[in-house]
Amino acid sequence: MATVRIPPVLRAQTGGQTEVEAGGENVGAVLRALTAEHPATEEQLFGPDGDLNRYVNVYLNDEDVRVLDGLETVVSDGDTVIIMPAMAGG
């Protein structure tokens, strides 16, 4: 199981939780597990073609999955997946 960190803007869609446990072999599967449990997050994370939305950054531990294998990036037990859209507030 991996821990998925939910950004402030998605917490409403996860019932206020800041962290959700989700299982999956790779990042894509973990995120799908998340959207299965909290369907309201699906639209924010994935486009109609099933690809991760360009404006959402996803990190496996401390690396952006785009420099790894994208949604195919292998996830190990105890890993953290961080979902991070940009924030503009100043």
Partner: protein
């Protein structure tokens, strides 16, 4: 032949306070007629060193205009008097020697500048900096000579400006077209209740001037756009991004990369903050990190969503820390690192940020962008966060 006593009467002598008044009025050429080691120890600000033995050779360069008001000084008034006589003999029309020299000047409480470039007041004010081996006098001088632009004089800009001013950053530019509102005071600590309704840049300037008169505050009471950003940014060494909207952040990124200006960028919302430092071509740029802005519903503003006031302080002071490191040239700025702070758990997380080889702004094959296209996106529809 005139005797010594007679020639002393011919050269005009003025008191230090008179010299000070004239110097303040401007249009005075001030010549220091001592030896280099004396000059290093302390001299009058603006004084040009022309040692007595080199007077004939060097006065022409130091004082090219023989009709200009020329005041000479030395340690106690003797050497400058003799030098003044020599200048008169060379055809200088309006010379004076300062009676009592720099000794009398200091006795009268007038300020001098040391070779270190700091006045005694500054050496006292910044002593806690100069004591640090990593900073020292050199580091403090770098701060005093630095020009930092703060985009946004609000949540992030407020604490950043305060600490940069306290540190002695010589020039602080502030960009903000807003006025102080009561709801700002929950976090924008550079303003106060009396300033409600006052332009933020003016309010900030007043606070900064009271804190540290060494700082020159430049108010840019406007919104940055493609037509003004290049000119404004060019004047500064380091930029602080404390904007509250995406269009400005992307515009700032594109312009700062083109001008090769480092940007310290932070953002806050509810209990979360992010900060990174973008040094063009050495590390990633903002677009490498966030290629596309999110749609509006994923990017609420603080006014819509709320923010714990102190978040501005935490992230703003982290920004100030980054700026000081860049200016002094010490430590490890957050280049290629995104620091996340979560206030409820008081937890910091560090993520890696890489340069995107295909970045349309800083990638190897990035095209040149026209001024009016700075901050824009090729697919305009995608850019709708607004």
């Amino acid at each position: 032949m005139a005797t010594g006593a007679q020639t002393k009467q011919q050269v005009e002598e003025i008191e230090p306070f008179e010299a000070a008044a004239e110097i303040e009025g401007g249009n005075v050429v001030l010549i220091d007629t001592r030896e280099p080691h004396e000059y290093q120890e302390a001299h009058l600000e603006g004084g040009k060193l022309v040692p007595p033995g080199l007077l004939g050779d060097e006065i022409g360069a130091a004082a090219p205009d023989k009709s200009a008001r020329t005041i000479l000084y030395c340690r106690s008034g003797n050497r400058s008097h003799k030098a003044a006589e020599q200048l008169q003999a060379l055809g200088y029309e309006d010379v004076a020697s300062m009676a009592g020299g720099i000794l009398a000047w200091q006795e009268q409480g007038l300020p001098v500048v040391a070779a270190t470039g700091m006045t005694p007041e500054q050496r006292d004010r910044y002593s806690r900096h100069t004591l640090l081996p990593e900073v020292g006098v050199d580091g403090q001088l770098k701060m005093l000579n630095a020009k930092v632009l703060l985009v946004g004089a609000g949540g992030l800009g407020a604490p950043t400006a305060l600490y940069l001013a306290a540190a002695g950053i010589g020039t602080l530019g502030l960009v903000d077209d807003d006025v102080v509102d009561a709801s700002n005071l929950q976090r924008q600590v550079i303003h106060n209740t009396e300033r409600i309704g006052v332009p933020k840049t003016t309010s900030a300037r007043l606070t900064i001037e009271a804190l540290n008169p060494d700082v020159d505050v430049v108010e840019h009471r406007l919104r940055l756009d493609a037509s003004n950003i290049v000119e404004i940014l060019s004047e500064y060494d380091v930029i602080v991004d404390g904007a509250d909207n995406f269009p400005t952040r992307y515009l700032l990124n594109d312009a700062s990369v083109r001008l090769r200006k480092p940007v310290v960028s932070a953002s806050i919302l509810s209990f979360d903050g992010q900060i990174s430092t973008f040094v063009p071509f050495e590390g990633p740029c903002y677009r490498c990190l966030y290629p596309t802005p999110p749609p509006a519903e994923l990017a609420p503003s603080c006014s819509a969503n709320g923010v714990l006031g102190v978040m501005a302080g935490t992230m703003g002071t982290l920004q100030a820390n980054e700026v000081l490191k860049l200016v002094i040239g010490i430590g490890e700025p957050l280049v290629g690192r995104l620091l996340l702070y979560e206030a409820l758990g008081t937890r910091f997380t560090e993520l890696k940020v890489r340069r995107d080889p295909n970045c349309p702004i800083c990638g190897e094959n990035a095209p040149e962008i026209a001024d009016e296209d700075l901050g824009k996106f090729p697919d305009y529809d995608a850019f709708c966060a607004g």
